[in-house]
């Protein structure tokens, strides 16, 4: 038996969790030609490619069908049954999201039977759904609520549970689980198992006792959850949410003794408009600055500034590793892995702890920022770091965990006090009575207010690598990036391909070593003729592919530098971003980021004058110097996949 082949097809199938790709059977009608099939939807004839689901066929033809367990990012589940339709000649209704069209069927999407079934299904869900919409944070943004409204299900025919069945799990810094709100659509399960390949959540028990749980029903903090929050982003109800610090942030704002600063990552500004009804891809950078000040933050800074710093530190680290390997013939861990995605970092700590040395020791931009605020900034401005509350608005739920890592006290204080998601910030803005799109525009505060486009594109998958290459190319070749890549846009690293790979031949002409690196190396001659190999992966399922390839000595083990982002699409698709997040929405957010980058004057990290200044004034030993090691670098924990 060709076991391997079968296991492969099994993995593709992983049904019923996933039935992707749906296998297409031979058409039963020989009149179908050219891979299309003609069907009737509500008495209208339409032609669709063989294997199209009924749901997709309806959508293409402007017929809307309600869905709940279906999600564009995920494989088919077919469990909620809300999308059922009638097919002529079939006794039972069929779930349109899970039914591939392979023969010329006649579909009816809104018959009395169908409508009654949908109402029943909604009513059943509501009967088991604890709590009321008016006291629910998803009120107005809930798919269950929307369905109930759409179908006029308003009298709780089958009753309404009046006591919670499950305890709320808020053990995790990142994700809060309230299974009393769960409708068992299993989107979170498919996200965690199929999309992220982490596998923390699964349905357990059966029948009426079925519920989503963790390994041995442990609190989320005690399992190998990487805090990516992708499950939150796909949950249709309030069963999953991020651990919200906004009340504590309000308290700090309201406390006159506290100096509350906020840093804003590149992705929230590209997405927060969605929370205010703007189309995806509307950048709100400078409106958001004003809103943050009106809320009461004392200073509004740009995380992109430390993204630039990350590029310098991480790039220097890479050059040092390469130098040690190629010139000194030392045994150093290569390829170097990026470390700015805390979800990815924890993923590696759990699943590939033996590769911990490959992680760049450079902190993420968020944590570099935190360390500088409570040292450099507090000194310069004569503020007691004990009085500073440092908030980071991030597209990410893992950033909440990251700022709580015990290592992150380089300043002698908790470097970043709170990680706030885009969604939570949007709510704070609304609570303050502010309509974001109407805000006048304003700039960031200095000294951390100016950043390059390179820092900005950190938000998209491939962005960190692109930023790094824009600098490395200029450092090593002594040429302008623009002379090699038109407009300094490194296209092969862009887009949503799961894994991207690129080679950059160095050739025989190298430039002079720039001042900022002179303390480390004398010349680039040792790189002559070399080819720099880099790769990019987003979503931990893709990261896993690369890691397994490295383990077996494959192509990616030859790479020098690899960017990993835990979330599909990179940070712009992060677990703290507005819901919904779909492939199309991620695309638009990426466009917003890349076009803002193009509009900026400074687009390379090393060109950022403030970065230069910080090395002149504060981190005087230069990148990788002692102070920078103390403040801007960190270490990791070999966690393994079993937690006692």
């Amino acid at each position: 038996m060709a076991t391997e082949e079968l296991m492969e097809s099994k993995n593709k199938l992983r049904a019923p969790v996933s039935q992707k790709p749906l296998k297409i059977e031979k058409p039963t009608d020989l009149t179908t030609i050219g891979g299309t099939v003609s069907v009737e939807i509500n008495e209208k004839k339409v032609v669709v490619p063989l294997g199209t689901t009924i749901l997709e066929a309806c959508k293409q033809n402007g017929i809307s069908i309600p869905t709940l367990c279906h999600h564009e990012d995920l494989c088919v589940a077919g469990v909620c049954r809300i999308c059922v339709v009638e097919i002529e000649g079939m006794r039972t209704l069929q779930a349109s999201c899970a039914f591939p069209i392979t023969s010329p069927i006649k579909i009816k999407t809104s018959t009395p039977m169908v409508r009654k079934a949908r109402r029943h299904i909604i009513d059943l869900m509501l009967s088991e759904h604890y709590g009321e919409c008016y006291s629910c944070f998803r009120n107005g943004k809930c798919e269950l609520q929307a369905l109930a409204k759409e179908y006029g299900v308003d009298n709780l025919t089958f009753g309404h549970i009046d006591k919670p069945k499950y305890e709320i799990d808020n053990s995790s810094f990142s994700v809060v689980r309230d299974m009393n709100k769960c409708v068992l659509c299993k989107r979170c399960v498919r996200t965690c198992i199929d999309l992220q390949e982490v596998g923390v959540l699964e349905a357990i028990d059966r029948g009426s006792k079925t519920h989503i749980s963790t390994f041995m029903n442990k609190p989320l903090a005690d399992v190998i959850c990487i805090n990516c929050g992708q499950c939150i982003n796909r949950c249709p109800t309030s069963a999953l949410r991020a651990n919200d610090p906004s009340d504590r942030i309000w308290a700090a704002i309201d406390d006159p003794k506290k100096h509350v600063v906020i840093q804003t990552a590149p992705s929230p500004r590209a997405a927060i408009g969605e929370e205010f009804g703007l189309p995806a891809g509307t950048s709100m950078t400078r409106e958001m600055n004003t809103a943050l000040r009106r809320i009461g933050f004392d200073k509004v800074f740009d995380t992109n500034f430390t993204a630039d710093l990350t590029i310098i530190e991480e790039g220097t680290e890479l050059i040092t590793r390469l130098y040690k390997a190629l010139v000194k013939k030392q045994d150093v861990a290569l390829p170097q892995f990026t470390s700015c995605s805390p979800g990815w970092v924890k993923f590696l700590e759990h699943y590939y702890p033996e590769y911990i040395e490959n992680l760049s020791t450079a902190k993420s931009p968020q944590q570099m920022f935190g360390a500088l605020i409570k040292t450099f900034y507090s000194e310069k401005n004569g503020i007691d770091p004990a009085d500073i509350i440092s908030v980071a608005v991030m597209p990410c739920s893992a950033k909440k965990f990251e700022c709580n890592r015990p290592e992150m006290h380089a300043s002698g204080f908790k470097d970043v006090d709170f990680g706030l998601t885009t969604r939570e910030l949007a709510r704070m803005i609304k609570e303050a009575g502010i309509n974001l799109p109407e805000m006048p525009k304003s700039d960031f505060d200095s000294p951390f207010g100016e950043a390059s486009g390179a820092g900005l594109i950190f938000g998209a998958t491939g962005g960190v690598m692109e930023a790094a290459i824009r600098s490395v190319v200029e450092f090593v070749l002594g040429k302008k990036t623009e002379d090699i890549f038109a407009n300094a846009n490194i296209i092969p690293l862009r887009g949503f391909e799961g894994i991207k790979y690129m080679e950059i031949p160095i050739g025989d002409h190298v430039g002079p070593v720039p001042a900022i690196l002179k303390h480390l190396i004398q010349d680039w001659n040792w790189l002559k003729g070399a080819t720099l190999k880099v790769a990019v992966a987003h979503g931990t399922a893709n990261a896993k592919k690369i890691m397994d390839d490295i383990k077996t000595g494959g192509k990616f083990s030859e790479c020098h530098f690899i960017e990993f982002m835990a979330c599909p699409g990179g940070c712009l698709g992060g677990g703290g971003q507005p819901i919904p997040t779909t492939p199309e929405i991620r695309q638009k957010r990426a466009q917003a980021i890349y076009s803002e980058d193009e509009s900026l004057e400074i687009r390379k990290s090393h060109d950022n004058p403030h970065v230069r200044r910080i090395y002149e004034e504060f981190l005087t030993e230069g990148p990788s110097g002692q102070l920078s090691h103390k403040l801007l670098h960190t270490h990791y924990v070999k966690r393994g996949s079993y937690i006692a």
Binding site: E5, V79, I121, S127, G159, S208
Partner: protein, 402 residues
């Protein structure tokens, strides 16, 4: 010899004379097409409950081009009140296993799997011994009966103790090591079954019937039963009767005839088809047992006048609330609501209008659930409440009066 001692079982088809290996020998002397022809001729329908024509199923898998195919014998026998597969496996393993080999030969599979109900662990040893003997006699293994290029072997896998794992796609999930949950279909197991390979899943009794059909022919088989339900059927009879047990009777037998044979007296109701079947009151005892009338995978439960039908129903519904895989909304929550309705009835708190709403809900479950479990679990709810109104309501306008 390895068989457990055969009871003196009488029957015209399944329990008729059969010599071990007979069907394999005959089949190997024929072409696949010949066998499929006989099968079609016999009009055999699946005995596991759904009644799908076996010839059609096999023809699709036989036509599939895949290198790997599987034959699965569904021995999960989980329907409350069925125990006829147990009898076949214990006393007539030759019929079942030969049927599997014939299936392997006909569809071009090399692997057969018996998915054995967890509670039948005790018969695993005897079945394994039997398989061992078959291998010794070249009825199993490489080049069976020296037929070049025909290799087929059978392994036994234990079920995981859930009723839903008898549903063929949940069974396959369970074999693959996943939660026992039904898959979406299409694709069906015949094209995308175990590990993605085309798979035939047949009930124990279906496979046993095949051994007879192959040896004695489709025409012979068709002589028994009705036009639409050919051959005979094993019925597992339990409940209020003098002689409960497994009976072979031709399809088309009247319920009243059956009651007579098993010595049932003062019968009030017969539940045909197990918990997921329908409950037939006295007025329906002249109905016949057949796919086209009172269909059953074999379970016959008899209730006499002393039984409280609401309690009977409650038992069934408790079973479904527990045994639903919990995957889809109509079945997971619907069954709970039906059970709660029964409890309201018991307390005299269920209004007629709510009861009607529950029946409507039952109808939704029948058409909107993902698999056969949820699609059939409301059957007894609807049939018992319809057929035993007087008993349950005692004429008291909405109150349960007994």
């Amino acid at each position: 010899m390895m068989n457990q001692e055969k009871k003196d079982r009488k029957g015209t088809v399944l329990f008729s004379k059969y010599a071990r290996g007979e069907a394999i020998k005959k089949a190997l002397s024929q072409t696949r097409e010949d066998i499929l022809f006989e099968l079609r001729e016999s009009k055999l329908k699946g005995r596991g409950g759904a009644g799908f024509p076996t010839a059609t199923k096999w023809t699709i898998v036989a036509a599939a081009t895949s290198k790997t195919k599987y034959v699965i014998c569904n021995a999960d026998e989980g329907e409350p009140g069925t125990f006829k597969d147990r009898v076949l496996l214990l006393e007539y393993p030759e019929l079942v296993l030969d049927g599997m080999v014939v299936a392997g030969y006909t569809i071009g599979a090399e692997n057969g799997i018996i998915y054995l109900r967890g509670e039948y662990e005790y018969m695993k040893k005897s079945l394994e011994d039997y398989l061992h003997e078959m291998r010794k006699d070249k009825l199993l293994g490489r080049e069976i009966l020296n037929k070049t290029n025909f290799n087929f072997d059978i392994t036994i896998r234990m079920g995981s103790g859930a009723y839903v794992c008898g549903e063929e796609t949940a069974l396959i999930e369970s074999l693959e090591g996943n939660r026992g949950e039904a898959r979406n279909r299409p694709p069906y197991p015949v094209s995308t079954g175990l590990l993605g390979a085309p798979t035939v899943v047949n009930n124990v009794e279906t496979l046993a019937s095949i051994s007879h059909i192959v040896t004695k022919g489709g025409l012979w088989f068709k002589k028994y039963g009705t036009d639409k339900s050919t051959g005979s059927k094993l019925f597992s009879v339990s409940g209020d009767c003098e002689k409960p047990g497994v009976y072979e009777l031709p399809w088309g037998t009247r319920i009243s005839e059956m009651l007579e044979i098993v010595g049932a007296k003062n019968t009030k109701a017969v539940q045909v088809g197990g918990a997921s079947g329908t409950c037939i009151p006295k007025s329906g005892f002249n109905r016949i047992l057949a796919y086209e009338d009172a269909a059953t995978g074999g379970s016959i439960m008899i209730f006499n006048e002393s039984r409280n039908m609401l309690h009977v129903l409650k038992n069934f519904m408790e079973f479904f609330v527990e045994e639903s895989c919990g995957q889809c909304t109509p079945c997971r929550i619907g069954n709970v609501k039906l059970l709660e309705g029964i409890e309201l009835l018991e307390q005299g708190k269920c209004t007629f209008s709510y009861l009607n709403q529950l029946k409507e809900l039952g109808k939704t479950m029948q058409i909107a659930s993902k698999c056969g479990l949820g699609q059939s679990s409301p059957n007894s709810f609807i049939s018992i409440l319809d057929n035993f109104k007087e008993e349950i309501f005692d004429g008291n306008g909405g109150t349960y009066g007994k």
